[in-house]
């Protein structure tokens, strides 16, 4: 099975809230030299791909569209065990929304060779849009199953456990498919081994411009966005202490009422 995993490099979401700064002019997070990591669900997706390859054979490629710094995310993908990697990086992509990114990724995937399976994280760890995967499936003209926690391959077909609000659904399908992956105990990302980090650091990773992919730039960049960020602010954190009067039974009743009012219970 030939699998392509799309990965996004983001500012480490584990960053302390006090270090999180917003650029008001561009309505985005300021990089400020903070550590950059692979978006967490994308790592889960890569782990799913590596486990499928261990079972069925085939290859795993990692693909990213972003800044040149995303090379380090791709190297981590190689160190974790991916067979190949490629980066799409072009100033024309700056400010693209999910449609622009999906268009570039679709051409990148085709350039890597027609895949049986495309895996994306179910959402990115920064914007949490949840849109690139499904739009990419549309661009590739393949079926999409979203919010998949577990995947198993049998006799050329895939069996997927999809998480829904009330529980889960079991889906079956034949490749080609695009899946968006949730975290699950079965897809905890492996740590890359030291020798694989050393090997990955010596691998050359192709960087493709939009022109290399033969994509029209009309659908990309800030000018082509169909969604716009109106406002981006840090949530204010306020703490207040309130002492409840009365007997313990009365205090409990008041507490329950107040928690219900705030939708805490």
């Amino acid at each position: 099975m030939r699998i392509v995993v799309c990965v996004k490099q983001i500012i480490d979401p584990e960053l302390a809230a006090s270090q999180f700064k917003i650029d008001p002019a561009f309505k985005r997070q300021r990089p400020n030299g903070h550590p950059l990591v692979i978006s967490p669900y994308d790592e889960n997706a890569l782990e799913v791909a590596l486990k499928l390859r261990e079972k069925t054979g085939g290859t795993v490629a990692v693909l990213s569209a972003g800044e040149p710094s995303a090379i380090s995310a791709l190297r981590k993908g190689l160190a974790m065990g991916a067979d190949e990697a490629a980066l799409i990086s072009d100033p024309a992509l700056d400010g693209s929304d999910a449609f622009g990114l999906a268009a570039a990724l679709a051409r990148g995937i085709q350039k890597l060779g027609t895949p049986d399976l495309v895996l994306c994280g179910c959402e990115s760890g920064d914007w949490a849009d949840r849109t690139v995967g499904p739009i990419l499936a549309e661009a590739l003209k393949i079926a999409c199953v979203s919010f998949v926690a577990q995947v198993d391959a049998q006799d050329g077909r895939l069996r997927m456990r999809r998480v829904v609000e009330e529980g889960y659904e079991i889906w079956e399908g034949a490749p080609p498919l695009l899946l968006t992956i949730l975290s699950h105990e079965s897809n905890v990302p492996r740590y890359p081994k030291v020798k694989d980090i050393m090997t990955a650091s010596r691998r050359s990773i192709p960087t493709w411009s939009v022109a290399d992919l033969g994509v029209e730039t009309g659908g990309m960049g800030e000018a082509a966005i169909r969604t716009e960020v109106e406002q981006l602010t840090l949530p204010s954190r306020e703490s207040r202490c309130e002492l409840l009067d009365g007997e313990p039974s009365q205090q409990v009743a008041t507490l329950i009422t107040k928690l219900r009012e705030r939708k805490a219970i």
Binding site: S18, V37, S72, K76, K193, V194, I197, M198, S201
Partner: protein, 379 residues
């Protein structure tokens, strides 16, 4: 001059830091309070390649450089100093030594499983009456046919209880003084080799520190490391590398104490303000951070010289001296910043304080480091 890490070293640091934060740190309090060897963590570290970081891949190692090695020791020790020194001994004092002085057969037989983390090593130099005075060993290894017969007691052996392989220093003739000292690879289970006792310690409580007894323990000639009489040189070379590892361990402990202090100072409110708003605390934090950075830079310099194949005995001693005293100072101040909470075992800084102390003692006390440095300065 570039003080930054290369992309490869950065990727390595990212991996070890993530591993340390997720796998090592959560177990550290129990490893300390229960004095429990972190066997599962060490097994995982072996699989990742952290038990033979600089050993070439053909001998079971990861083939990384010494800078990567000190990065790893710092990150692991920041999470758990016990785990850090278990790793440091296996890497610096056992794997490096067999790789540098062992013959091909010894590398195949001993080094590969040690560097893969399938086996654990320990280093046996100190004796009840020969600590800093390492040239005055009493343990003997008398030739008898194609064997040496080992007799003597070895003290303060880190990893002693769990180690499968010991590097043992003994003299073939006490009249030759340090020129008689030779190094041997001794496997646990060899008749005449027994663990006499395990010490109860102030810090690094997740490691075993043991006393060994060798009683008519027959070691085949094939287990002689280097030449007869080369042992003292081997011990000194291994200590050069070992001191860089302990320097990195001390930097890791100091950083853990600093980071805990920063978090606490920003959260602890007194007189209506976080205590970090008071200049008395700010000055402490600034001094702590400056000393930690200075110690790390000295450690990186020593590691960098080792990577270039340049002499680094003086620089290794400087790094170890500075980092261990910084770890002690920073962890002491961390307890001061925590106040009463720093003195009780619910908070981590008392562990950092207890763990820091040994870095001023093992692999050469601070006084020995000063002697080494002065020796280089004065010729």
């Amino acid at each position: 001059m570039d003080f930054g890490l290369s992309p490869r070293q950065q990727a390595f640091q990212d991996m070890v830091r993530e591993f340390a934060e997720k796998e090592v740190a959560p177990r550290a309090p129990a490893v300390d309070t229960e004095a429990c060897f972190p066997a599962q963590t060490i097994r995982m570290m072996g699989e990742l390649g952290l038990m033979g970081v600089v050993i070439p891949e053909e001998y079971g190692g990861a083939g990384a450089d010494t800078i990567c090695y000190v990065i790893a020791i710092e990150e692991i020790s920041r999470a758990c100093a016990s785990t850090g020194v278990i790793m440091s001994i296996n890497n610096s004092m056992v794997c490096d030594l067999i790789y540098t002085f062992g013959n091909e057969e010894q590398k195949r037989r001993f080094l590969i499983p040690l560097a893969r983390g399938e086996k654990l090593g320990c280093f046996c130099l100190s004796e009840p009456d020969a600590g800093s005075d390492a040239g005055n060993l009493r343990a003997t290894a008398l030739a008898d046919g194609d064997h040496f017969v080992l007799n003597g007691v070895k003290n303060f052996i880190t990893n002693g209880k769990e180690a499968d392989v010991a590097i043992v220093f003994a003299t073939v003739d006490r009249r030759l003084k340090h020129k008689g000292i030779s190094a041997f690879v001794v496997e646990k289970g060899t008749p005449g080799f027994q663990v006499l006792k395990e010490e109860d310690k102030l810090g690094i409580r997740g490691t075993s520190t043991c006393q060994f007894l060798f009683e008519d323990c027959r070691i085949p000639h094939a287990n002689l490391l280097g030449d007869i009489g080369e042992g003292f040189r081997i011990a000194m070379v291994s200590l050069d590398g070992g001191r860089i590892g302990i320097a990195a361990q001390a930097v890791g402990i100091a950083r853990a104490a600093l980071e805990a202090s920063l978090r606490y100072a920003q959260g602890r409110v007194q007189f209506g303000r976080p205590i970090a708003a008071f200049q008395a605390i700010q000055f402490l934090l600034a001094d702590m951070a400056t000393r930690v950075d200075a110690a790390r830079l000295l450690t990186y310099r020593a590691a960098s010289l080792r990577d270039c194949g340049a002499p680094c005995a003086k620089e290794g001693s400087m790094a170890k001296l500075s980092a261990s005293e910084v770890a002690m100072w920073v962890s002491t101040k961390a307890i001061q910043i925590y106040g009463g909470y720093g003195y009780i075992t619910d908070y981590p800084v008392q562990r950092h304080f207890r763990d820091a102390k040994v870095t001023e003692i093992y692999e050469g006390t601070s006084e020995i480091q000063r002697l080494v440095i002065a020796g280089h300065l004065l010729g």
